[in-house]
Amino acid sequence: MIHFDGVLKKFGDTVVLDGLDFAVKPGEFVTLIGPSGSGKTTILRLLMTLEQVSDGKIWVGGECLSHMKRGERLVPADDKHQRVVRKRIGMVFQQFNLFPNMKVLQNITEAPIRVLGLSRADAEQRAHELLELVGLSEKVNEHPSRLSGGQQQRVAIARALAMRPDVLLLDEVTSALDPELVAGVLALLKDIAATTDITFLCVTHEMNFARDVSDRVLMFDAGQIVEDAPPDKLFTEPDHERTRTFLQAVLNRG
Amino acid sequence: MFDNLPEFISTILDGLGLTLAATLGGIAISAVLSFVFGLAMLSGSRIVRVVARIYVEIWRGTSEVVQLFWIFFVLPVLVGYQIVPLMAGIVVLGLNFGAYGAEIVRGAIQAVPRAQYEGAIALSLTPAQRMRRVILPQALVEMVPPFNNLFIQLLKGSALLTMITVPEMTNQARNVLMDLYTGQAGLIWTVLLVFYLLLSVLITFGMKFLERRAARIVGRGPSQAARDRGLAIAVEAGAGRGGGFPT
């Protein structure tokens, strides 16, 4: 579903991703863990076209995201091309990024109406269904500023799901939440993962969640994949020293 | 079409002297008044603060044209003697822009971190010493960009003196050249605009020089952060609209 092919990403002189190769199968739930600055978030941002690759290619669902065909050659993709491929990808942000000038309902229906061409009636119906899924039906006419962090994140999830994405990117979606709201959001995500075919790519510090819901866990450090294994293996008997030290530090903090 | 250009330029330049006199005179007076009233608004004495605030609100709140007309037409009748137009103009420019400048000074001084005051108090400096040696030098760097904007506005204000018959550059273009060369208005007014532009740039250069001097006193170079703070102070003082090239 997702394929990174020799991806290099530099910010100025700093190399953040160095010749990265990895793939995600359709329907898989893959979690990226590792220290800050290891490049995990950059991967999500590249998929969301918030950044562009310095070198290498990215494929999504068999189509090239980072490049497009011009005649016989492959050239860096322009915005129009990327928008087409990008429509299959959704993202939930650490800071929720709901639109404060719109009520909850409009936040969710805006893109389906404008981008997918749904009628207002259809979009609103979908929105109501999703709000019920995330347990916030009664908040449909509220402004985001009136909701708690956990509620806003759940609306953000509904908003992303309204686009019926094939791929959903989760960027530390619980890091900005009060601890007691985290569990609710994680439970919701686990539910969605179990009941849909969506491919998930998740960056998180919540190790228990990662262990519980992932098909595979990738340990990142300094722009490279250090280890790639199913959660049971990675969390109990990591092959690599780096993974071991990282897990020790993280899990010991409770 | 450009045959008469030299004549246009020299006629306009005949007014340059008065434009400069008005501008520099205005800058001098407003600079002094800015500090006097800016510091007054931070005074411990309530009366001083109120008087300063009244001055600022009156001269900031009224139209420059009205001020010019009043000082030129009304004041002489009240006090009994005629005021030379140029003097009236300089006085108005000084008082008007001094009011905006006072807000700039006040804002910049208040923007100096509280910690500096406390450090100076801890060292037992007198209030005067505190202001002169610690606070003011730091505030000066912040003041330069908004004053740059202000002085350029003052330069533009000097053009209004044509309305009270001062023969500065705009007057030259309007009353001399227009009578003779109405058909070449486009070229004439463009030349005049370019002259004002050049003078604006000159003022900006001068102020940049001052900014570097002021920054060296406190040991740093002018940063973009400082410029942004300066812009914030200027906007708050109501003098945020300026001209010239980005500082």
């Binding site: 639109f99 | 605009l193 004002y196």
Partner: protein
Amino acid sequence: MNWDWDYAWEVLPGIVGEGLLVTLRVTVLASLVAYALGLVLALLRRSPVAVVRWIVWGFIEFIRSTPLIVQVFFAFFVLPNIGIKFDPEPTGVIVIGLHYACYTAEVYRAGIDAVPKGQWEAATALSLPRGRTWFAVILPQAIPRVLPALGNYSISLLKETPILLTIGVLDIVGAAYQEGSAAFRYPEPITIAGVLFLVVSYSASLLVRRLERRVARSN
């Protein structure tokens, strides 16, 4: 000095009546021009085409660096030469509006920059088209925040409207000046104009301050 109350009473209607009307009309119309055009300029300044950005930047800096009165004279003398029919008041409104658009453009720029980056990213994540992103997400967040600053520029604009008397627009000050010239007696009309002007601009600044408080509260 002998203040002639009869004379003052005589000139009052012209100044407070028609003169006030003209001042308010010019201020409001020119402000609208400045608000609308300023937004256009601010958006153009963000154009992906470098040439457009530079031309707009150059234009804005040129207008801001040169006196409004000279720009007014420019329009007054040049437009007839190139065949554009010239009416003093509309022309004055447009020149002042254009002049102040170059200032409001900066205000809009600051407001747009203040919208959190996350809003842009969310719009990208939802694949919203650019136009929709601007119209439905960014501008509704940028503009309310800058309304007080726009209001303050309107007040500055108000205070510069008397410049138009030089091209025959009889606003408060223009009407006063005309009365004064006709009777060779200036103090009464000019003082009346001055007081009236002060009342108008003070009221306007109170309105803007109220607007400031409302915006601050809603944040």
